[in-house]
């Protein structure tokens, strides 16, 4: 969002891009581009964690296979997740306040209800629907989760022509 600070005519190009991306997902055009197809990767990671746990990131079990750049210390954290977080004063999956607490089910119901009422769920369904259509077109397997061919393809492919 550095563009907003600089525009002498008061525009925010970043917001325009966000509006266009929203539109392209609602209309299903996003699967036509390499970057657009990646929306499924986001929906099935941060999107999934949000409506399941109430956190955008819920990283126990998300190791260096998907994120090798996190480095060896992250492997140690993953291997000792509960003890590390207890040492850090977390209330991991516990009731009441605290770090990475378990958010009560009725709170999560409210969140999911908000997603339904405001079109959040609709967009998730859109992303899945058009991705499945594109996967069939590219005849790549796409079933749930992240281990399938289409997901790994969009997660890893970069045609290298983006920085002329």
């Amino acid at each position: 969002m550095s563009c907003k600070t600089r525009c002498p005519r008061g525009n925010a190009p970043g917001l325009i891009i966000m509006a266009l991306r929203s539109l392209s997902q609602d209309l299903g055009y996003f699967t036509e581009s390499e970057k657009g197809r990646q929306q499924l990767a986001l929906k099935r990671t941060v999107g999934h964690w949000m409506i399941t746990y109430g956190y955008c990131l819920y990283l126990e079990g998300v190791g260096t296979s998907m994120h090798p750049e996190q480095g060896p210390v992250w492997d140690w954290i993953q291997d000792n997740w509960r003890d590390v977080f207890k040492k850090m004063g977390a209330n991991y999956q516990g009731d009441g306040p605290g770090i990475l607490r378990r958010i009560p089910e009725e709170a999560m119901d409210e969140i999911r209800e908000i997603f339904k009422v405001t079109g959040g769920m609709k967009r998730f369904e859109n992303i899945e629907k058009f991705s499945k259509k594109k996967a069939k077109e590219l005849n790549m397997k796409l079933d749930d989760g992240i281990e399938n061919e289409y997901f790994q393809h969009i997660y890893k492919t970069n045609n290298g022509s983006h920085t002329r």
Binding site: P68, K156, T163, R164
Partner: protein, 114 residues
């Protein structure tokens, strides 16, 4: 690319200080009118090659001044030297001669020879 699944992207910034501007100096010395260019695009508008390829004489002039020699060397090859651009230039720059001189300049240094 191997271990982490990506390569570090290169910046697209023109680093003015580290570019080599001998080609530009060579042209400025032999075609002073080159200084008059106001990058208005009249030449590239009328340019025949520009109509069929991504060649733009206006952009080429700028890349020469900035010392982006790699790109200049590639783009130079597309110019047919027909000289239509000279007729259009509102500042009377001998644009055709700039391309001729640039080609000559590149021939001189073996490292850049076309």
């Amino acid at each position: 690319m191997d271990k982490f699944g990506f390569t570090i992207s290169e910046g697209r910034q023109i680093d003015y200080e580290s570019n080599d501007r001998r080609i530009a100096e060579y042209i400025f010395d032999r075609e002073p009118s080159f200084r008059l260019c106001i990058e208005c695009g009249g030449c590239s508008a009328t340019c025949t090659t520009g109509n069929f390829t991504d060649f733009s004489l206006r952009e080429l002039n700028i890349l020469i001044k900035r010392g982006e020699n790699e790109q200049v060397r590639e783009k130079l090859k597309k110019c047919m030297l027909c000289g239509k651009c000279n007729l259009v230039c509102p500042r009377g720059v001998n644009t055709r001669n700039i391309v001729v001189l640039a080609k000559k300049a590149f021939q001189k240094s073996d490292e850049y020879a076309i």
